[in-house]
Amino acid sequence: MTDAFLDPLPWLIVLPLAWAAMAFLMGAGRGARLAIVALAMQLFLALILATQVLESGPVTHVVGGWGAPLGIDLLADGLSVAMLLLTQAVALPLAVYAQAYFSREAGQFWPLAGFLLAALNALFLSADLFNLYVTLELLSLAAVGLVALGGKPAQVAAALRYLLVSLTASGAYLMGVALIYGVYGTVSIATLAPLMGSAPPMALWLSAGLMLTGLLAKTALFPFHFWLPPAHGGAAAPVSALLSALVVKASFYLVLRLALDVFPNLTALVAPGLGLLGAAAILYGSWRALRTHHIKRLVAWSTVAQLGYLFLVFPLLAPDGLALQAGVVQAIAHGLAKAAMFAAVGVLMLATGRDTLEGLAGVAHRVPLTLFAFGLAGVTLMGLPPSAGFLAKWLLIDAALSHGQWGWVAVVIGGGLLAAAYVFKVLRQAFLLAPEDSRFQPVPRSMEWAAFVLAAASVVLGLRGVELMALLAQGAP
């Protein structure tokens, strides 16, 4: 049984935990190179796991050898692996970016980022409701620590607000898990699934409501979005990128997982409401993005809007799998594009020394590669072909039409137009001539290229949709 050493699944959790702890040992500001090497290995491991799942279906790892419900099982199905691939693919270029961004003043960035990635991988692989709570806790604390990293009063305030929302939300989730344990005596998803009857007791309703509310607050779905713009808009650029691209996706993934595997009978009842909140998020987030003059806030409000698309999926969930595909492709497209956008904005702010839209005049001539990356990421957010954002919206419209629910189509198209408006607002400013007295700081090339690679990936992925669909078809057994 020594071939367990070659199994990629457990290493995707062990490796980031190990490098996070090592980076902490090495001391403040150290650990960048270790992180980059380890992240390259993690990407490789995720790719191996993806081929395994494609070839022979979902992979399980029985931690401790006990088996659920006594022990904890890890499960990698198509949905998990797609999220794992996104996580490693976003993290690796961002690590290269962060190495140059922080130079020597990284503080505790590397250990915090390591724990964040370990939490994400553990969350996507977990098949146990209580273990999922532990991963959520690890994820929230790492994310809060990263927001507070710079130590400016505004950052600490945003981090504390984030912490309070996140802890309350975790508490609601945990209460839900406790109720489920009270009703069924187990927290393993695989053991629970067959026990869910068609006439659930009141405790189960309450449990589902508590877990859903907690997770929506963590995902910053409208009207729980209020903590997101200060937290994502005020953090250091690599941190904003990690949070917007990955952390809010984790709680969305969990809502999707619960809806599909744990509460399939209750999902239909709340689905229209989730869709409406999603639509409101798209419109309100885009409108606020259009109104702000602070460039990073603009990108953060755009995240609020883009998260809305993810929830349009719920009223359209059907056995044909179209809506599920649309949701996952949107999560991946937005993850890559938003990481690219925050990375690009970080470069623009370093180059101009300003954080407002007005300060951007002239950047088209000084940092053209970065502006190109911003534009490419914008293409994905608007949903223009051939980007992955286009694929996501196409699938979503397809699903809406096959259900005859025309309203969602209007929301998707309207949201795309609003995205175009705020992206072009930035681009127009960038192409203006710089005022005489403006000064530009040189920016490390590795930062520009990291932003570009992420943006290019978000566009090119639209051409590789077939592989992704095949992966997603590998559902849980």
Partner: protein, 222 residues
Amino acid sequence: MKSALRLAVVLLALVLAGTLMAAILELPGANQSLPAAVAAHMAVSGVEHPVTAVLLNFRGYDTLLEVAVLLLALLGIGAAVHAGSETEDGGAEGDPVLAALARLLTPLLILAAGYLLWAGAHRPGGAFQAAAVLAGAAVLLHLSGQMPAWSSPGLLLRLGLAGGLLIFLALAAGLLGQGALLRYPPEYAGALILLIEASLTISLGLILAGLFLMLAGRRGGA
């Protein structure tokens, strides 16, 4: 306006509490019994107390992540404190009676922690309880002016803080040789669990003490 909001929050909390109570009162009996499964596997768990068996063996993976959570909490506080003013704080001016008491109690507390760690194998106790006692000793030493607050931990201290997690993680990964993460061979389970708990006691004790001592440095500056 504000009082109306407060009233709404109170009403919401009351409704939630009421619904929770109603839901719990009508809970049907669970048809799965985990305590029975735990009892059935106690013989191969390596320990005699069910709580320790669940924490370190059956659900040891949760505990591994939980240790990372505690280290993270300290990191978060470190990030926030580091940004503030750094002042050396030697603790309060020592009251001689308090100082003598602290000096007298510290060895006893260390002894008590050792006992709690050992007792965890067969009765309530274990690494977390032992670590809390150790941290209490550190806080007492600081308050009596015999231990400085921490500003930024040195290499040795960092090794102590992260050592428990690293040993736990290395063992978890090493046990992949048995076919899965944290799959103890039954004949060595007791010894391996004791090794993990002993290293966790020291690391968690330092982490819990750090949660207080890092903030104490901050308070001295204010």
